[in-house]
């Protein structure tokens, strides 16, 4: 139970802090959330700066503890997060690094690290969400290409992506998990249509992807044919306990801001509100400790945090929604004004219990894989 950092880690933190302090004032203003090309340019520009300063691979090579420090410090300093580079840096990139050929790594990894190319994730389909293995988008081999036809949905930032990590069915006869392959789809290929979907927050964060006889070179397949399910799962736990580090730092800062605002507008006199904020603060403090434990486990085993991930996400996603409800209580009637801070975030937070595995699916995972309860519907 040691919570102290080594001298080297503290040095890494100090150098990073110094660099952030020098770099952040030179950043361009944040783009409008509705301006996708602007957001892409901003996010890629930030990744380029990280790359040039030697922090470009931090998500890939650094030890879990250094990654924790990196995410903690960048969030504290108010630096941007991965944004449009989420899939490239945290999923497709690591998948290619782990499962790709020499040639594939050379082709795709550099541009992700330099912020030159953006990836999106084409997994979910209209009829395959939680039950992802039921996906039906077909890929039929024709010479040196796959001909892909089908539909994807909820594809985040598809509008500005260059590549899509696509799960397709290559063997409809095989058992569900064994007939799937992983393809890198160029988003400008003929037959790809992107139709933005408007979220309840008003902006277009994700899109529908229509694929009509799109030809994808066989060389764009990562891993063996029909082995795509395993290829994908290998990197699902890639973040090794550090997923949501920045978010928890941000939530703890928000709690401080809420307390300040409530003291100013008099709502702090309401004991129920104070206790509500106190309870949330205790929860986020504990979530931070849970991250430190998961990272310690990942660091020691070199592997998957296992137990930690689903347990963490279950509490975090609900706690963060409650946090914005508390923010609304602090704001009073101003909670209805989308021009005020926190209110758009409150809307966005409604996705946290759905995206990346719904809470119900997380509970199934905890119950079946950790507690060993029998499978069932």
């Amino acid at each position: 139970m040691d919570l102290s950092y080594t001298g080297e880690e503290e040095e890494f933190r100090a150098r990073l802090r110094e660099w952030l302090a020098a770099e952040l004032p030179g950043l361009p203003p944040r783009p409008d959330p509705l301006d996708w090309p602007g957001r892409r340019a901003y996010d890629c520009g930030w990744q380029r700066r990280l790359h040039d300063a030697g922090y470009g691979h931090v998500h890939w090579d650094a030890s879990p503890t250094r990654r924790l420090i990196f995410l903690e410090e960048t969030e504290r300093a108010g630096a941007p997060y991965v944004g449009a580079n989420f899939v490239g840096l945290l999923h497709a990139g690591p998948t290619i690094a782990a499962e790709g050929t020499e040639e594939q790594r050379a082709r795709w990894l550099g541009p992700v690290l330099r912020g030159d190319e953006v990836w999106c994730q084409g997994f979910s389909e209209p009829d395959a969400g939680s039950d992802l293995a039921g996906l039906r988008t077909r890929a039929v081999r024709d010479g040196d290409a796959y001909v892909v036809t089908g539909q994807k949905i909820w594809t985040s930032h598809a509008e500005v992506a260059d590549w899509c990590e696509l799960l397709v069915r290559t063997d409809p006869e095989a058992p569900r998990h064994r007939g799937i392959s992983w393809l890198a789809l160029p988003m400008d290929a003929p037959g790809v249509t992107v139709r933005p979907l408007r979220t309840l927050a008003g902006s277009a964060e994700f899109a529908e992807l229509f694929l009509d006889e799109v030809r994808v070179p066989v060389g764009n397949r990562v891993g063996e044919e029909n082995d795509g399910w395993r290829v994908t799962m290998v990197t699902l736990s890639f973040e090794r306990g550090t997923a949501f580090v920045g978010e928890v730092v941000a939530c703890r800062r928000l709690l401080g801001e809420l307390a300040r605002a409530a003291r100013e507008n008099g709502r702090w006199d309401d004991p129920a509100l104070r206790r509500r904020l106190g309870g949330l603060a205790a929860g986020f403090q504990a979530l931070w400790r849970l991250i430190q434990r998961n990272v310690s486990e990942a660091q020691a085993t070199g592997g998957v945090p296992g137990v930690g991930g689903s347990v963490f996400k279950l509490h975090y996603s609900h706690a963060r929604q409650e946090l914005y409800d508390a923010a609304a209580e602090v704001l009073g009637p101003d909670a209805l004004d989308l021009g005020r801070e926190w209110n758009l975030d409150r809307l966005s937070s409604l996705s946290y219990t759905i995206a990346a595995g719904t809470s119900q699916i997380q509970r199934n995972i905890v119950a079946e894989r950790i507690l060993g309860l029998p499978k069932g519907r």
């Binding site: 139970m1 309870g279 509490h315 509970r363 199934n364």
Partner: protein, 287 residues
């Protein structure tokens, strides 16, 4: 940073768990419930094993361990529902003669005006005059109540009580899961039903969160972090005991099943020091 238990800490947990399983297993627990008395022989054995002298420096004849180890030991005590004023006697080791060795039973007046095990104790710390007995909800924690000026809650007492709550939360999770795998209805184990499965998953989440909070608070010793840990541990213990009771069905409502003993003890520990509203206020004050 390595927030996992060290090898020594893991060994300590195993040792305490084995000791308690051997010396205070289910039969002994139920015998204590029936008699309602504190087993002085067991108390002495705990003393011999270093339970009370755990944090006393080695130079003073103690074991010389720290708050993190104490938290691990108290979690095991909580899991086993070990009765008696454990935290107060541990606190008294080194100052009250016999406490360290398990020869004396020491209790104290809590910040909420409660005195557990007053009649069984050799020494009562704090302003205990005029204490009146209560009909305690917990068959294994006799209680007295006093009013007047009360001592402030000591952060260590709060933390160690929270550690016992984590033990209860963990026991309830294990018991519910074991029952859900064994008990069959509609032709399958009830643990195959999501309504049951999801209760169990929620219990594990509460336990892990509270445990991370308690362990970290033991390392930092920070008062607000301790208050937060107590808040989460109280919630984990009480909510898990209720869910465990629910998973047991009619059996859960019997005197025979142990789950009510955990729920009642969890209520006692929650009310004894820094109860929920106070803990939440303390955390909020630090914001």
């Amino acid at each position: 940073m390595d927030f996992r238990l060290s090898q020594d800490q893991t060994d300590l947990v195993r040792g305490v768990r084995e000791l308690l399983a051997g010396r205070f297993g289910r039969d002994a627990l139920r015998a204590s419930v029936d008699s309602g008395a504190l087993d002085r022989g067991l108390w002495k054995e705990l003393g011999d094993a270093g339970f009370f002298a755990l944090r006393l420096p080695e130079a003073d004849g103690g074991v010389g361990l720290g708050l993190p180890e104490a938290v691990l030991v108290l979690e095991e005590a909580g899991r086993a529902l070990l009765p008696g004023p454990l935290v107060a006697t541990q606190r008294a080791a080194g100052t009250v003669p016999g406490a360290a060795e398990g020869l004396a039973v020491v209790t104290e007046v809590s910040s909420e005006g409660l005195i557990p095990w007053r009649d069984a104790a050799d020494v009562v710390l704090g302003p205990a005059e005029g204490a009146v007995p209560m009909r305690s909800v917990d068959p294994l924690t006799p209680l007295h109540r006093v009013s007047g000026t009360l001592p402030a809650a000591r952060p260590e007492t709060v933390l160690l009580t929270a550690a016992e709550q984590v033990g209860t939360a963990a026991w309830c999770t294990d018991a519910a899961v074991a029952h859900a795998r064994r008990r069959e209805q509609f032709g399958r184990p009830i643990g195959a039903f999501q309504a049951v499965k999801h209760l169990c998953a929620g219990m594990l989440v509460r336990t892990e969160l509270a445990r991370a909070a308690v362990h970290a608070a033991a390392v930092t010793g920070d008062a607000a972090e301790i208050a937060g840990a107590k808040l989460l541990a109280d919630d984990a213990a009480v909510a898990n005991a209720r869910d465990c009771l629910q998973v047991h069905g009619g059996m859960g409502f019997t005197w025979e099943a142990d789950v009510h003993l955990h729920l009642k003890r969890a209520w006692v520990r929650a009310a004894l020091v820094l109860p929920g509203a106070r803990a939440a206020e303390e955390v909020a004050a630090a914001l």
